[in-house]
């Protein structure tokens, strides 16, 4: 292999900037694009195209599965702003986020700390038990909990038996509790995976740090608030972000558990979109797309805010990677 050949081969590896012209680089790298082809085509069609097309659809009046819609400008958005059911779904999604995410993140942290202690026995078994609902099918969990939360189901019976409830109640079928029931089941289902995130985060803190704290006479609580917690802040931001996006994707659980009811009391945005686009007798694809676009903006906004928060937290904690 001559020196020239070698340098040409090597220049495609990262690190060294290439001095070849644009066209020659494209010709030399043709096989790279061949490797990328499935991803470019698939990603283009199933992620980038929908991203752009949703915006276009949002400006159409498009009933059912007609071939295409007619352009009506911002009329869909105007209608959404005045649609009480849309705001109801929007509010429900926000309530869900505000209740469920802190509960999941906080409870999982507590659990991770307890299961990270050297003195706790059967840690492996306990972790497995808490993780079990994570691997199960959300739609099936939703169905099973309609039974468990029924007035004749075990939860109602237990609460009445313990004197916490006057008479048997169907939590899923009541407008007061349907959304809360969704929050509870969602936290129950996903707690295990957040616990694993936290365990991974806790284990990035070297033992030496804890030993040093112990030698300096720190009490467990002091050690947690002064040492562990500050080191965990970047993880807090990223875990909250992951869980928030998860909370916006509750369709399977909520739809199978409550169907968004009774009387829309647990209808979150995803169910609103589904109902408008596919579930109604007269499907409205354009109108549902407009709702989807607003939903997307909400998600992106939250993700962006947390990305900024993460950058800030990393700078604030200095040396943390």
């Amino acid at each position: 292999m001559t020196a020239l050949d070698e340098s040409r081969e090597l220049s495609t590896m990262s690190a060294r900037p290439s001095k070849l012209g644009l066209w020659r680089r494209l010709r030399r790298d043709w096989w790279i694009y061949l490797f990328l082809l499935p991803t470019i085509v698939g990603y283009g069609a199933y992620t980038v195209y929908p991203l752009v097309a949703s915006w276009w659809f949002a400006f159409l009046d498009w009933p059912g599965f007609a071939d295409s819609g007619t352009f009506i400008g911002v009329e869909n958005f105007q209608r959404l702003v005045g649609d009480d059911l849309f705001w109801n779904a929007f509010t429900n999604s926000l309530i869900f986020l505000v209740l469920a995410v802190p509960l999941r993140v906080g409870l999982a942290l507590l659990l991770a700390i307890l299961l990270n202690r050297k003195r706790t026995p059967f840690k492996g078994l306990l972790r497995t038990l808490f993780f079990l609902p994570v691997v199960t099918t959300g739609a099936i969990i939703g169905v099973v909990f309609t039974l468990l939360l029924d007035a004749g189901g075990p939860i109602s019976v237990a609460l009445v038996g313990a004197g916490l409830l006057d008479s048997p109640a169907n939590f899923v079928a009541s407008t007061d509790t349907s959304l809360l029931a969704g929050v509870a089941v969602w936290v129950w289902k996903w707690l295990g995976i957040t616990m694993i995130y936290w365990l991974a985060a806790l284990q990035t803190i070297p033992d030496e740090v804890h030993e040093a704290a112990m030698i300096d006479g720190a009490k467990p609580w002091q050690e947690f608030t002064r040492i562990t917690m500050p080191l965990l802040i970047p993880f807090l931001v990223i875990i909250t972000l992951i869980d928030t996006v998860g909370a916006l994707n509750v369709f399977d659980l909520m739809y199978t558990m409550t169907g968004g009811g009774p009387s829309f009391s647990s209808e979150v945005i995803e169910i609103f979109i589904f109902r408008t686009a596919f579930g109604a007798t007269v499907p409205q694809l354009g109108y549902a797309s407009a709702a989807a676009v607003l939903f997307g903006i909400l998600t992106m906004g939250i993700a962006l805010a947390q990305a900024v928060g993460l950058r800030w937290a990393r700078r604030a904690t200095g040396a943390m990677k």
Binding site: E9, Y43, Y46, T47, P50, L111, A277, G296
Partner: protein
Amino acid sequence: MTTPPTTTTAPAAAAQNAGRNQRVRGRALRPDRPDGLRTLIRRPGSLMIFAGLLILALIWIYPFIWLVSASLKTQPEIFGSGLGLIPETPVWENYTRAWTVVGFDRYFLNSVIITGGTVALIVIRSALAGYVLGRYDFIGKKLLIGIFLITFFLPEGYTIIPVVQLTDQIGLLNTHLGVILGLGAGGQVAATLLYAGYFRGLPKELEECARLDGAGHLRIFAQIMLPLAWPITATVIILNFLFAWNVYLLPLVFTLSEPALRTLAVGMSAFIGEYSTDWSGLAAAATISLIPVMAIFITLQRKFVDSIAGAVKQ
């Protein structure tokens, strides 16, 4: 010729470092030696914490135990027995009914086909893309990564309408292939990035030697790189098996007019509509559907937990 000391010690130090990291991570998620039982008795505080954890864990698995017991009860017994878990006389017939009457055998097969196809598609395309993204510079790389990052958190509900419309236009709406493409062709950025990260860490010499021996790009990838990346492939298979087996919205929308194409997850809800009172049959069906994921999880649990933890640490 004397070798500068740095060149000899650097790899040694790196190896040592790797060893330590591995040790830390290996220990990380493995339960510590249960010296705990003895300390529990000596320390009342620890005992309280342990008791609390145990009660909480029972709440976590109670629904599953209740489900299995409900699948063996008669209809009135499910609603009459409260917290009780033992059926009076086990009604095995619930299972035969769930399996045959509702068409669960077909749903099961659909789930297997769709999950298998989706996982295979994701592994192939992520490995190919991850390989070139991790090891080479090319025009458009930054753009590609930028698009990946922008779409990382795209919710499923946002894309579903155009995906259905696209699938309808290419004539795949009521086919297995349509569902597989819908689930596996886009998204799954994490898999690509996992591969890219892993391939980036492999030594350059691997390719140079193979190239000297006359191997082409595809051959190097398929015979050297992909086998080396087996740990990542295993992780991607596990995570996407879970995703594809449990996914609901897309298969539901794709089968609204084609019940024969339903997966287990979607079939469950159809069960409620069509057989609205058969709760014991439903419990049996749910048990059948949950068995494969549970079984795979329990056999591979270390791998599951480590791969998730590993992905987060990155």
